[in-house]
Symmetry: D2
Subunit: 465 residues, 4 copies
């Protein structure tokens, strides 16, 4: 970076040329803005400017309230235009940043650094801080980011705005400010209805179906922020079982008999769901899991094992791609067997499943431990839990035979174990590229390796790198 600064063109002139480029992009944005937000645009922009002005200081509360209400009343199109306004007109003043950067380079010290940081922060950040003083301000800003993330698919120019929002929300939603709340059948129906809607992993048909998941042998916890007392941020569902659960069916069956929690030795985290799109990227899940582990330990000292029962969402897709590319770690004889996965109801055919089990569990171990990108597992769930300090504990055969479970992971599910004493060390190994896993999983992987090594050494090599 700094090493490339000795270019022919003077820094100054080059920078100003780039500034012009940047400006012209912004100008285009403004034109677009004018067309979309129409007459309303001026009013909203003026409101924002006023809130940021000297005059605004005295009436932050009133102006912030007006801005929040304006946001609430906007149509989808107006909201999109407003986001563009924030992205284009309320970013940092690059000229000022450059001047401050030069001053710092010339004379590095506290004063120049402070100035550099001051101008480096986009004015919209202060705008959001002031907007937040209004009732419902926090909620509006979370919504605003949710809309931004939806819009971003169309337009990568919003990335800068998103970075500012994410940094601000991460600071505001610091885990130290959140409350962990136990959810049960005595919780408000309105809250349960919301959670039911947010549950994407193992969907709920009705509130009555939810009741079973809140019975004596279950635990459900959510994070809340004090200013959003009716909006759960993330929640986790836990089953108290004897032994690690190896199938999802009994855990989500509303008619399963309720077990005595005093007899349980394991806590199975079988569903964890984010609730607020606008908080994407704000780290909540790993804090939630760890706090819930600690809470259950304190409450039920007999529980000694903590593990998830998780889907392997990318497995079927990965396998199919590998098969197509001819790079799957199988021997030719297995290909025909795997093709039978396309037959409806294959999982009900005992003979077939007996033949498939060793092949698929081995392939799954391979997928989870060997299929990586930048050294990390490509499976998102594995990435989350292993990166979070869990251990890949067990691969469960015919564990989720729902249509989705069969389609995405050929019915397999995985236990990731959270051993409080090992979490830190596992995480550190993960950072260094090692995925901690149980001996049983190692055996599955080794068996697969032995099979393919004899026949497909090249593939193995390629894949393992």
């Amino acid at each position: 970076m700094a090493g490339t600064s000795l270019v022919a063109e003077s820094t100054r002139s080059r920078a100003s040329r780039l500034d012009q480029l940047w400006s012209s992009i912004a100008d285009a944005g403004r034109e677009l803005l004018r067309r979309r937000l129409g007459p309303r645009r001026r009013a909203v922009e003026l409101l924002c400017r006023e809130l940021l002005s000297v005059r605004g200081e005295a009436s932050t509360l009133a102006l912030a309230r007006e801005l929040v209400e304006t946001w609430r009343g906007m149509s989808a199109e107006e909201r999109a235009a407003f986001l563009r306004l924030l992205a284009v007109e309320f970013g940092p003043d690059l000229g000022a940043v450059r001047r401050a950067a030069e001053a710092f380079v010339h004379q590095p010290g506290p004063r120049t650094l402070a100035e550099l940081r001051r101008v480096g922060e986009a004015p919209r950040v202060e705008l959001f801080r002031r907007m937040n003083t209004a009732p419902g301000g926090t909620r509006a800003i979370v919504e605003l980011r949710a809309e931004l993330l939806r819009a971003m698919a169309d337009d990568p120019a919003f990335a800068e705005l998103d970075r500012d929002l994410l940094a601000l929300l991460a600071t505001w939603f610091n885990p130290g400010f959140l409350t962990l709340t136990r959810i049960d059948w005595g919780s408000p129906a309105a809250l349960l209805e919301k959670l039911k809607g947010y549950e994407k992993v193992h969907k709920l048909d009705s509130l009555e179906a939810f009741k079973r998941r809140l019975a004596a042998d279950r635990r459900c916890f959510a994070f809340f922020h004090p200013v959003l007392p009716e909006e759960p941020l993330i929640f986790v569902q836990v089953a108290l079982t004897r032994g690690l659960a190896d199938r999802i069916g009994p855990l989500i069956d509303p008619n399963e008999p309720v077990a005595a929690p005093s007899e349980a030795d394991s806590a199975i985290f079988y569903s964890i769901s984010n609730c607020q799109d606008g908080l994407k990227g704000v780290t909540l899940g790993n804090f939630l899991i760890k706090l819930v582990v600690a809470t259950i330990q304190a409450d039920l000292p007999r529980i000694s094992r903590f593990a998830t029962l998780s889907p392997v969402p990318g497995f079927a897709r990965w396998l199919s791609a590998e098969l197509e590319a001819g790079t799957a770690p199988i021997v030719e004889a297995e290909r025909e067997l795997l093709e039978r996965l396309g037959e409806p109801g294959w999982h009900l055919d005992g003979e077939l499943t007996a033949a498939l089990e060793p092949v698929l569990t081995g392939l799954c171990a391979w997928y989870l431990l060997r299929a990586r990108r930048n050294g990390k597992p490509i499976d998102p769930v594995a990435r989350f839990h292993l990166g979070n300090g869990a251990r890949l504990e067990r691969i469960n055969w015919l564990a989720d035979t729902s249509p989705k479970g069969l389609a995405e992971s050929h019915g397999l599910m995985v236990n990731y174990a959270y051993d409080p004493a090992r979490i830190e060390q596992n995480h550190e190994l993960y950072v260094e590229g090692e995925l901690v896993h149980a001996r049983a999983v190692e055996r599955l992987l080794a068996a697969r390796e032995r099979i393919v090594e004899r026949t497909l050494p090249a593939v193995v090599q390629a894949n393992a790198s």
Copy 2:
């Protein structure tokens, strides 16, 4: 700043020379640190480094808790040493900032700006964010800043650390996250005891004395942050009166009869106290006043006037200095009269007070409106309320005859009026250098001007600039 960059010495070499200077200061700090924190230093520093490390990510909660507990257990000397550690070892890497600044100057754009901002943030900021995840984390950080502010008097090198802390706390204690709580005699005794301790303006002898200030004709409100439910941040005491109160005595007399709130037409803010030293500089007072005005308006629609009854804490000191320097806006004949202010009990001598009243109230008007620094009133209370959009409404003679009142402001008190419809405009005028005041105050000032113009035009000129 940037304008001074065309120096002979190359930016590069000069910067590196400054870096060395900076480094040597830091080294000195380290040496000091070593001596003071002793063997414990290594442990604390390691803990901080670990909390910031990759390994720390997995066990933020545990490490943060340990750090908070370590902080709590530290002696005063160890705390001072820890603050120094944070100031010296966890500041931004100036070399990295310079490189990022150069890269930005060379190629201004989102990526270089993001990098510049990333390295511009001191690592301790992330350290505080992680420390905050622990129970009691927020409180510890507020305490930490309180200690820092106490220590800063001795050592200006802490300013950078303070800037980071203030920015973080201002974001965390955004008014949108605070709750306004009414305090009354049904509030917890422990809370009332705390407030009694925080009340510095008109001290309270006992909880029983506090009771009168919480009776039916009073209101008391405090701001709280949800994670510090037992720690008020700031609180205000209000009396509901008929007409603007012109003396503090009846408002703080525990034996004053309780009036019917339904008969009141005015709300007098007679005491506002910050409770947390660690939040100095975080704007809370003006939000509190405005929210309380709105709350009382909604609750008691008959109340139409909102004003403070405030001390003039710098008046006596200012007058004494002006008299000594011979620049006081008085005529010679008044000097003798003013000297009698040194006589004990002067305020009880009816003849004397009758003679003093026009002189002192005029001088006070002069002091509040003319005695400025950078265009702002030098009186801190005037600066706060006028800057906050209030109007200087009335100067009250013999309004506070307590020893402190006599010593600091020769017994004068001021009403600053908060007219919700004018706040914004008043504030704007204030920014432009105009101090909005009532006609009665204008008359006091004009009378004084007429007196001194005849005799001391030079002084007036000098003072008014």
Copy 3:
């Protein structure tokens, strides 16, 4: 009573003969008891005796707790036996009562009256008072009475026990001790599930269906007793409408659009349900209605009309009996028309309903106002609301075409209006035998009278008496 005392047989001997009779009945009960409660009987009886004894005074809490737990663990048969034990063994000592009565007659005065009252109270009343000191005691006693009422159908000997329980429960559940709670979608799911089960009038399929009944244009209130915070005692569902609702359909349709409550001028009480069988006979409903009227008036001053939309549960049965007996107030020509009520789907035949409307609404008016027992309407709902001070406001045609509505009341429903200013007077007239009703209802009745007077004067006479 006293006037019949001059019988030949001496009071003394006669009484002792009756005592023997009474005793032999009790003895039979005891024998039964012995057989049913078996070995456990002794234990339970001993526990009760101990709780009532001198020794019990010191450990009431422990013994009460044991008794409550014993009750909870009893099978249905054991409970029945326990009720018999209470009825037979813990009633008043009739010999003692007689002696006290004689003493009082001999020497009426405060002391003899006190003694008479002391022995007149069954020991089981004190037993219940002591049992109530245990956690869950109140609940157990309410359950005990519910079981008693179920058992009473079989055995009228329980009446005395029931009288004691009812008197005690009426004192304990005095409205002054109850809290009126608004129920909405933010109420605990467990509570809504219970209410859903208790709603007998217009059944609820699911919690989701309940949600519509708790929307912005609805109100739902329940009475609770502080020691039973999870057990609603009685609840009422109210719809806020423009004009008096004349059909139940829209009020219970989950898909009906939500109206703005600010536009409503009427509050329609469309369902009121008792929740605790054990509190039968404890007056709750009229207090609930009146408190809810007052609450809604305070909350929504625009609401000026309060009325029910009620079923006429006995109408079809009454009409059918009258028709069979030949005493229905109809003319012969109408009989054929009324027979068509037996045809399925009659209510969908416009021509038929047009012909039936005047006949059935007139008959309904007749039924509500003329069909009486002891001067009170035989329709239980009419008896409740008219006795409660309401006015029979309107009879609504084709108002409830559900199978139950058609079967019980030929689709008719009634508005009973609660005019706060008239309630007292209406009630007083009711006590004197007058059923207050609106002019429209009077017209329906008068029309019917005109029709039948011409042809069936005898019937009318007979019926009206």
Copy 4:
């Protein structure tokens, strides 16, 4: 009773004569009433009659509210007159009771018994029940009884009314309806202020002094009724100590250092105060003590001993009377020593106290165990705790040297021990006339007996009977 019925005069005529007598008393009361309550009397009486009438049924709530407000507005004299109205005009109809009694004697059975009970209940009982439906009704009735008890000193005719009120209040304030609340420094100041006022045993100077009694090594609990959430009914103060406390000084000294509760092995109940005069006679204290013992046991399992540190309020008075009467269980030689108790500061004279200790502690043991009325100790505190199942554990010398302590009990205090396992048995023995006490107390008593037996056998005989 019944045995005396065969008198010459016929029951009938005699009864009617008594009725006349009774009536004339009532008439006199009425006259008095007329004079005192004056014109207002009619209004209040009418209101009561209306509330009890048929018409009142429909508007109980409104009339009850009016009656409660009328009560609140009454002057002391009007209240006294109102109590007389209730006593005289709303008692049972004695004629009706006599008729019902005769009917029952003639034909004892459920129906006649029910009628007897119905007319045996004074109409004012139903009046209170209806009055209770109003907001503040319960509080008004408790106040009403408090005023009645104050008035009763003057006029024993109120006894009947009091019996009705006590029975009703005992049913309403059944311990099963009360909540046990821990009081600490976080409790509302208004509540602490009330408790401070109710503390009669060891008075509190200020709220700040109360703080020490709510510190970590203390516990304070109160009973509340749900409808009187701001009115404590009774409260107890407990100190957690090592060993049984033998002096009150350290327990009530605001400057005593706070001990670690984890080190305590004993819980000392050093003050128990009733708060509501109107609930005199309603058993609350023994339930409170037992619940607090259970609560502390659950909370702090290391606490194994529960005892009071109680005054001996009647000791000095008893001793003085016995000395005067010459019946004190002393030998002549001791008389002179005891006379020195009249010297101020005697308790500071080491030689004197050494001589007095064996005499006074022995006399105190004698007083507590031997001085009885109806077989019960005459000391009220001993009667309460021993009757409650406690054991007289220890007599403490120089345990309360406050002026009151010296005056009432010559500085002695007593520990009554509550051993949860023995409470019931101790109580039973108490009922049988045995006062359970520790061996040490037995030794004190025996020593005294040996001394006096030799010289004053007659006195001992007389006293022990």
